[in-house]
């Protein structure tokens, strides 16, 4: 990372190779679209390169990079929400039906697809901490640093996110 700080492009390319899956996955989970996730991930790496001198060599790379990525994804999310506000009629359609018209019919198990769908229904502020925790394996403190909230606030969000997820999964079973 010290070479990246000095502007070494070869080192930076290695960094992109190493972290692109993590960054892209986070952006995808926030945005739920491959195209938007690609745009956000690219933005994130470019921003990271620009901000390379602010990087503290004593700290881990991934929380720093993921923080930049989550901000980049949120920027796109904000733009997208502004774009789609006129299509509010679409929002009345059940998200399950949009994804899979047969969802919920006769399935009798809790599988990762259910969770994936329920995750998609969560707002970004709840989804992102879950992704950072269960996909990237960050500690609570690292997640708090990454999304820029305090540790106690993060705990509340995580707790609420799990409650919402739990309630949505069971709601779907009752349908």
């Amino acid at each position: 990372m010290s070479r990246v700080r000095d502007g070494d492009l070869v080192a930076f390319e290695r960094l992109v190779e190493r972290y692109k899956v993590g960054v892209f996955s986070l952006c995808f989970q926030i945005l739920r679209s491959r195209e938007d996730a690609e745009e956000a991930s690219q933005d994130a790496f470019v921003k990271a390169f620009r901000a390379r001198e602010t990087y503290d060599l004593d700290r881990k790379v991934s929380p720093w990079l993921l923080r930049i990525a989550s901000n980049a994804a949120r920027d796109i999310l904000r733009k997208r929400q502004a774009r789609t506000v006129v299509n509010s009629d679409l929002l009345a359609v059940e998200p399950d039906n949009l994804l899979d018209p047969n969802a919920g019919a006769g399935e009798n198990r809790l599988d990762s697809e259910d969770v994936h769908r329920a995750l998609g229904d969560l707002s970004e502020q709840y989804r992102t901490p879950l992704v950072l925790k269960y996909l990237h394996g960050l500690t609570n403190q690292e997640i708090a640093d990454t999304i820029g909230v305090s540790l106690s606030s993060l705990k509340v969000r995580l707790s609420r996110a799990r409650e919402l997820l739990h309630a949505r999964l069971w709601k779907r079973w009752e349908e």
């Binding site: 190779e17 692109k20 899956v21 009798n108 996909l135 606030s153 509340v156 739990h166 069971w170």
Partner: protein, 854 residues
């Protein structure tokens, strides 16, 4: 919010997610471990949360970006670098914004001094200096408390963290303190130890409030916080011996009474509380101890100890500004409320009046009860359905909080078997001592369910028992409804009546148990006059004899129950030897599945059957009787012999039987509570289709198998058959299962692996076994804890965990441990025990690398 759940269960409930995430410290983790073993309901709940966590991890799979991704990034980076290199400021100025760096460089070139940055920066410096002084003043106090966390004296609060100007972690500020946030956050705490929900729940006192967003706030005193305006998001977690009042914008207030709670006031639709709309859309209050109240004008919600309240959709209509002191004083006057007339109540009692109805009609003779803590006062409804119950609060303790603990229940009159009892419910209007309230009681109709049972081969299941399983979808628990069951007829049809209505969040699943029938097997046996014991041995094929002691020699009846693996496979049960104290006839009853073909033949001790017959065996003469039981065709393949839960396939209106206890739900067709129009609970046809269970294979025949799902209760699942197979059909699919196998002899074996149960009928889960070992070692007397956590570090049982207690004499004992290097952790210090089992000396204990030793 059932009053049946204990405080411990509710505490456990709040810790389960952290437990699954391995975030609890050793003591709390051990506490949960012990609790879920003792409490089956919490064990099931833990299984559900473990399953969810597992699925959550599976759902969040890493995703590969497109192949050209890196090139695209590098192209953009090179572009950026090209622009950046146009103006490259000196390294000494890097780290600030690019614009300010350039401007400063220009000023430097022009010979100007850099400007003083802002009034705000000056403010920061002053505040810093003040903070230093404050900390210096309070330092002796901190030192005198001998606790790690900074402790503020009364009249002060501590800043735990902040990215707002002027305040830093560790600062102490005097009260009242007014601050303003501009898109930042600040965490303030009363600075006392404890109070961190999820990690430390000791009621040591102290609170912490976390403010985010923009807006003004004032900490008036340590028990009074005012959020004035702006878009502040507040959350608080506390264990406090004091009351904490939080005034919210728009006249709302949170009133947190002494106890332990976690409060989150959340934003909705991007708008936090405190906006001009003054909406208070969602409040989550989790109370560990004590009680909390939300008072917002007309809405006055009490949240009892140990509960989670999710208050949503509180609209501006429902929320009014806090009433004036005069109005509050009037509310406390004794008065008649609720539309009843000519009734007055004493100041120390609560009067509850109302009418019991069912399907819109009055119900005479119903028993209505008010429960106040341990007390219960009942009344029987009159001819017009009316009832009145008076309960003296002085007897139950007359404080205002006591009325939070009031519950109402009702039981239908005798002879009204079509009506369900009304389970405990809270009051719509929480009464206060001296008040009279009106509560209408509605008894729901019991529902009916008809359907057919169909086996995996499409044939009707005859004589099977269907029971109803009530699932609480929100909590994730399930309970069997007592006394609600049906037996299928010769066409597989069944009728289940008296099905109580579902309450909110509940759904019904059905458990199908195959039929069984007792077949008398008359055996005439020889006598060994010298035998002293009454012992009946049955040899299972060529395996070791399984001893089935005859409990009562006089009746000489042996029940072979729940040996599904034995029956599902070809079982040759041979009565090898009968040693009974007297000559004569005896009857051995063998309980077999309906449809089982029973073959028998006489065996004169040669080991080979002489002749075989079908039907009821009647052996005569000396020697042994051999039996061959072939399973009914519908069950061949080892399917669904134990209890299995089921779910309706709504598209085909058929029911699939699955392997999970929490398998599922009848949704729309389920009998619902009768509506105000008085409809009877619906009846609907359904088909039940049996599909299978999960098979485990252990390299030991006739081994006792204990199964533990998640961190839950280990239960006895049955015996393995001669091939080491066992069908365990009530494992929640997707669950992580730990298996403990104990062989039929005295040798102990442990299967320490964890297996994820997947689709039914897939390949059996093979479980490795190894001889166990025991340890008994002296632990250096340097630890405060009496509990040690043991972890196997390598080999086939890597990751196996157990807890062990350290006895008074300082000896740590544990048995049934699998082989491998063993790590022992006590009080955050650990030591590794080698293959020789010798425990190193006190100096070998190192600080554990992580809090949990993982």
């Amino acid at each position: 919010m059932s009053p049946a759940r204990s405080r411990e269960c509710r505490k456990c409930d709040s810790l389960l997610v952290a437990y699954c995430d391995r975030e609890l410290d050793g003591r709390l983790r051990d506490w949960v471990d012990e609790h879920v073993v003792a409490c089956k309901r919490c064990g099931i709940e833990l299984s559900c949360i473990e399953l969810e966590t597992l699925r959550l991890r599976e759902a969040l799979v890493p995703m590969e970006p497109p192949v050209e991704f890196t090139d695209a990034v590098m192209d953009r980076v090179r572009d950026a670098l090209a622009h950046e290199s146009v103006v490259e400021p000196p390294r000494s100025l890097r780290g600030r914004s690019f614009t300010s760096r350039v401007l400063d460089q220009v000023r430097e070139d022009l010979g100007e001094a850099p400007p003083v940055r802002s009034h705000r920066a000056r403010g920061i410096a002053v505040a810093l200096a003040a903070a230093v002084i404050l900390v210096a003043f309070s330092l002796p106090y901190f030192l005198s408390k001998k606790v790690e966390a900074p402790v503020a004296p009364r009249g002060w609060v501590v800043v735990e963290s902040s990215n707002a100007g002027g305040l830093h972690a560790g600062d102490a500020v005097s009260l009242p303190y007014s601050g303003e946030l501009d898109r930042g956050h600040i965490v303030l705490s009363s600075g006392e130890p404890g109070g961190v929900a999820g990690s430390e729940l000791e009621p040591a006192g102290g609170w912490r409030i976390d403010l985010e967003g923009r807006g003004r706030f004032t900490i008036v005193s340590r028990d009074h916080i005012v959020l004035e305006d702006g878009e502040l998001e507040a959350s608080s977690e506390a264990t406090t011996a004091e009351r904490l009042a939080v005034d919210l914008p728009g006249g709302h207030a949170l009133d947190l009474q002494p106890g332990s709670y976690l409060v989150s006031v959340e934003e909705v639709e991007g708008r936090s509380i405190g906006l001009a709309t003054q909406r208070l859309d969602r409040i989550t209050v989790r109370v560990f101890q004590g009680a909390a109240g939300l008072r917002s004008g007309g809405v006055d919600v009490a949240i009892a100890s140990g509960s989670l309240a999710l208050l949503e959709g509180l609209s501006p209509i429902a929320i009014h500004p806090l009433p004036s002191r005069e109005a509050l004083a009037r509310l406390n006057e004794p008065e008649v409320r609720g539309g009843t007339e000519n009734v007055t109540s004493r100041r120390d009692e609560i009067v509850v009046r109302g009418i019991v109805r069912a399907r819109g009609e009055a119900v005479p003779g119903a028993r209505v009860a008010i429960h106040a803590g341990e007390r219960e006062v009942t009344s029987v409804s009159g001819d017009d359905g009316s009832y009145e119950v008076r309960i003296a609060m002085a007897e139950a303790g007359s404080s205002a909080t006591t009325s939070n603990d009031l519950w109402l229940s009702a039981v239908a009159p005798a002879g009204r078997g079509d009506l369900a009892a009304m389970p405990f419910r809270s009051f719509r209007d929480r009464p206060a001592p001296g008040e009279t309230v009106y509560e209408e009681v509605r008894l729901a109709s019991l529902g009916e369910r008809r359907g057919r049972l169909i086996g995996a081969d499409g044939a009707a299941l005859v004589g099977a028992r269907v029971r109803a399983l009530r699932i609480d979808g929100f909590v994730g628990t399930a309970r069997m409804l007592d006394g609600v069951e049906a037996i299928s007829d010769e066409n597989g049809a069944f009728v289940m009546d008296r099905l109580p209505p579902e309450s909110a969040g509940e759904s019904t699943a059905y458990v199908v148990e195959p039929a069984s029938v007792s077949m008398p097997l008359h055996v005439e046996y020889g006598i060994d006059e010298t035998a002293e014991s009454s012992q009946l041995s049955i040899r299972v094929s060529d395996g070791d004899p399984v001893e089935l002691p005859v409990q009562n020699p006089a009746t000489r009846i042996v029940w072979i129950l729940k040996r599904p693996q034995g029956v599902a496979a070809d079982l040759v049960a041979r009565v090898e030897r009968i040693d009974l104290p007297a000559a004569g006839r005896s009857t051995v009853q063998v309980r077999l599945l309906t449809g089982t073909t029973l073959h028998w033949w006489e065996d004169e001790g040669t080991g080979a059957p002489r002749s075989a017959h079908e039907g009821e065996p009647r052996a005569t003469g000396k020697g042994a009787v051999a039996l061959l039981a072939a399973p009914p065709r519908a069950w061949a393949g080892g399917n669904a012999l134990a209890a299995t839960a089921a779910k309706v396939d709504s598209s085909q209106h058929a029911l699939r039987v699955d392997t999970g206890l929490v398998a599922s739900v009848f949704g729309r067709d389920a009998p619902r509570p009768s509506s105000s129009r008085g409809e009877r609970g619906k009846s609907a046809e359904l088909d039940l289709r049996v599909v299978g269970g999960s098979e485990l294979v252990v390299p030991a025949e006739a081994a006792r198998i204990y199964v533990r799902v998640g961190g839950g209760v280990a239960w006895f699942a049955g015996w393995t058959d001669l091939d080491g197979r066992i069908l365990v059909s009530d494992l929640p699919r997707g669950s992580a299962v730990q298996v403990l196998a104990v062989s039929g002899t005295q040798d102990l074996f442990v299967g320490g692996g964890r297996y994820v149960i997947d689709e039914p009928k897939s390949a059996p889960h093979r479980i490795g076994l190894a001889a166990t070992r025991s340890i008994a070692a002296h632990v250096p007397p340097v630890f405060g804890s009496r509990l040690a956590r043991l972890t196997i570090l390598d080999g086939a049982f890597e990751g196996f965990e157990a807890s062990a207690r350290i006895g008074d004499e300082g000896v740590l004992r544990s048995s049934e441990l699998p082989p491998g290097r063993l790590r022992i952790e006590v009080d955050g210090r650990a030591v590794v025990v080698g293959a020789d089992g010798a425990l190193p000396g006190a100096d070998a204990w190192d600080a554990a690398s992580s809090g949990n030793g993982r």
